[in-house]
């Protein structure tokens, strides 16, 4: 989970903060309320998650509860991976 969060944080710092590490952003800070992402930014984040972690995100899953903080994205990805892993083994 720690590594997941670091990967997600690295993407957010690079893509939305353009390398600005002076801005304090905790794992639980809201990305929306802190103006880190806008409506197109959240779709970038979804795209990153799909490409990097090989998970599929349904439209109905694009929720603040899944994408509004580093911790939430990490938990969402971890949950998805846990679901998809047995399927991968089965196939």
């Amino acid at each position: 989970m720690m590594y997941l969060k670091e990967q997600i944080r690295a993407f957010i710092v690079e893509s939305f903060l353009f390398g600005d590490t002076t801005r304090a952003l905790s794992d639980d800070d809201s990305l929306i309320e802190n103006d880190v992402v806008d409506s197109t930014g959240i779709l970038e984040l979804v795209s990153f998650v799909e490409d990097t972690f090989a998970v599929t995100v349904a439209d109905v899953e694009i929720l603040p509860t899944n994408f509004d903080s580093i911790a939430r994205v990490a938990a969402f990805v971890a949950g998805k991976s846990a679901v998809s892993a047995p399927l991968a083994v089965a196939s």
Binding site: E14, S15, L17, F18, G19, D20, R23, I32, E33, D35, D38, S39, T40, G41, I42, L43, E44, D59, V60, I62, L63, P64, T65, F67, D68
Partner: protein, 651 residues
């Protein structure tokens, strides 16, 4: 319509003053290619560049009255000059010219400073009253025509554009960092602030008196929303009255001694303008459009419908990435301020096209969205308030995705995401700037790129405080929609739309824009109508649509507002990337200006090159590029004292 310059105060011998005035007016020659003149006295002087439209043979300026005691330098048009002349003649005034300029002079003789209240027009002028040793400087109600001023060594210098003031010895271009913060929040500096430290803008609807006791500035007109005084009438009667008013506003704007054409975007507003103008164009109406090769920006099918319906002589100019990128440095030389959208560039291309077609006056549909609540922002604020009343609702936020059908990202969002983006920030619905906070906030996100030094300078500063400070006393008593309309009409309209997209782009090629929807009678009339007559549900400009229903093809009359936009970063970064873009984003150039973080800006341009950028990235890209260009154009120009460099950019 022209360019004016001048000074008030002792400090220069008339001979030296004449040279300064000539240099100043030379800097504005794009505004008035037809003629020029200067008049210098010990205590005051004027210069003028003329674009001849009314009184072609005898309207030279600066102009004086019969005994030479009053002098005027005037930029703009007085559309009701015919009626005013008749009234003045009845009172015994004799006219030597056919110009509207002389009408203002005699009106001043008759009414003094109150002459401004009688003028229906777009103007910036100065009258030197040598007998009283005082000067009156005034700017039109809506802010169509610009007027800037600066004080140096006890003298006040003024001009239609700041580049003329930079010709005055001792006035140098130095950036006002707080103005830059305003651009990156509200899209433009909030007058009287400009991008240039020490150079101020006379706000729209204001006048200034200069005399021995100093400078006094007062607001002579403000937008007001009295309580629904038209409420007693039925809707049909209001629609008929409005149509008659719009018809007259258009008719008096067709007055000119040269042909008057019209811009035709294919939207409701410009289509109404063209339909109303057609009967007054004695030799047929010429219309002009921009077309884009990107379907999300292009409106040519609607333009063609209107051309067929009205039978105008139409001409379109294609505007693609190459044209936008090619025009952009000149655009910034004209706007004299950074911008966060490329939208002015196609209008720069269009005005050149109009001028090449031999025309120098066009009507446009600008102003209707402010006056009749056409912008999406008004609907958005309405939905945000609606959601705020029941924060837990899952249904209410879905309305947001209906607001912006042209933004594909939004339709994919869930109600929770939409609520979060638009209204889940614990907003204070009592905030006077409630309607505009999302715009300010999303624009301000681009301040992420500000350098450490700039952030330190701006610490504790809030750009919106200067807007709050300018709100009228009654503001809190108005309906929320009217509050939003006030903010849009009094700030973005004059400070960006009429300036960066309007006067500056048209006058770059000596073209005068005229705006029937901004006739103050129309503005005042619409302000008296109840909010739901303007925005009914999600149907914007309701009463306007009803008033003009018979003038337009149904597809145009019922067309939903499509905001005018142009391709942003794509214009610069697809195909051949212009050298100036690479230069402006180079670490060396960014360090030299010291305004942006070079590493972050470098990552931004790389992201834009990969075309993975969003709206916010686009605004930041255009904002940084235009700021760098602004710096290169003006501050270096001033340091080198090289007027030709600027003029080369302008031309």
């Amino acid at each position: 319509m022209c360019g004016i310059v001048g000074y008030f105060g002792h400090g220069m011998a008339p001979d030296a003053a004449e040279i300064v005035l000539q240099r100043m007016s030379h800097a504005l020659r794009h505004r008035g290619p037809d003629d020029s003149g200067v008049h210098a006295e010990i205590a005051a002087g004027f210069g003028h560049r003329r674009l001849s439209i009314v009184g072609l043979a005898d309207g030279q300026q600066p102009m004086c009255n019969a005994d030479g005691a009053l002098w005027i330098s005037f930029n703009g048009e007085v559309f009701n000059h015919v009626e005013l002349r008749r009234m003045l003649e009845a009172k015994g005034y004799r006219f030597r010219t056919a110009s509207d300029t002389e009408v203002i002079l005699h009106l001043y003789e008759e009414k003094g400073d109150a002459c401004i209240d009688e003028l229906n027009g777009d103007f910036a002028f100065a009258i030197w009253d040598s007998r009283q040793g005082r000067m009156l400087v005034a700017r039109d109600r809506m802010g169509v025509r610009p007027l800037f001023y600066a004080e140096r060594r006890g003298m006040v210098f003024f001009a239609s554009e700041i580049k003329a003031l930079l010709e005055v010895p001792g006035i140098e271009a130095e950036i006002d960092p707080f103005a830059l913060d305003q651009v990156f929040t509200c899209w433009a500096p909030v007058p009287p602030r400009t991008m240039f430290k020490g150079v101020l803008e006379l706000p729209a609807g204001h006048c200034m008196v200069l005399d021995g006791s100093g400078m006094a500035i007062r607001q002579y007109w403000d937008l007001d929303f009295p309580q629904d005084v038209c409420g007693a009438q039925n809707e049909q009667a209001i629609a008929e009255e409005l149509l008659a008013l719009l018809d007259d506003a258009t008719a008096i704007r067709m007055r000119a001694d040269v042909p008057v054409g019209a811009y035709l975007s294919g939207g409701l507003d410009s289509s109404v303008t063209c339909a109303l103008a057609k009967p007054y164009a004695a030799s047929g109406l010429r219309t002009f459009s921009v077309t884009f090769d990107t379907p999300e920006h292009d409106e040519s099918p609607f333009q063609q419908q209107m051309v067929s319906a009205l039978g105008t002589r139409h001409s379109a100019v294609a505007c693609g990435p190459e044209e936008i990128a090619g025009a952009f440095p000149a655009v910034i030389a004209h706007t004299e301020k950074p911008i966060i959208r490329t939208a002015p560039a196609p209008l720069h291309v269009l005005s050149r096209h109009v001028r090449d077609a031999g025309m120098k006056v066009v009507l446009t549909g600008e102003g209707a969205d402010e006056v009749f609540a056409g912008y999406d922002l008004f609907k958005e604020a309405k939905v945000r308030r609606f959601c705020a009343r029941q924060p837990g609702s899952r249904r209410r936020p879905l309305l947001f995705s209906r607001l912006y059908p042209y933004l594909p990202g939004l339709t994919q969002q869930t109600p929770e995401s939409l609520a979060a983006f638009f209204g889940a920030k614990g907003e204070d619905i009592g905030d006077p700037l409630f309607s505009h906070r999302p715009r300010y906030r999303s624009t301000a996100a681009a301040k992420l790129f500000f350098s450490g030094d700039l952030r330190k300078t701006l610490e504790g500063y809030d750009a919106t405080d200067e807007i709050l400070a300018r709100l009228p006393g009654d503001f809190g008593r108005w309906h929320p929609q009217h509050q939003a309309q006030y903010l849009e009409t009094k700030f973005l309209l004059p400070d960006y739309i009429l300036s960066s997209q309007g006067d500056r782009m048209a006058m770059a090629h000596g073209v005068e824009g005229r705006f029937p929807f901004l006739d103050h009678r129309v503005v005042d009339y619409a302000a008296r109508l109840k909010p739901s007559l303007k925005l009914r549900g999600f149907a914007e400009k309701h009463i306007l649509r009803r008033a003009v229903a018979d003038l337009l093809p149904p597809a145009i009359a019922q067309r939903t507002k499509q905001p005018y936009r142009a391709p942003d970063s794509r214009s610069f970064l697809t195909g051949q990337e212009p050298n100036y873009v690479r230069c402006c984003f180079s670490a060396q150039a960014l360090e030299e200006t010291g305004l942006f973080n070079p590493a972050a800006a470098g990552k931004l341009i790389e992201k834009c090159r990969r075309q993975t950028d969003g709206f916010r990235d686009n605004a930041a890209f255009v904002g940084i590029l235009s700021t760098q260009l602004w710096h290169r154009t003006f501050t270096r120009q001033s340091l080198l004292n090289d007027g030709d460099r600027l003029l080369a950019a302008v031309n």
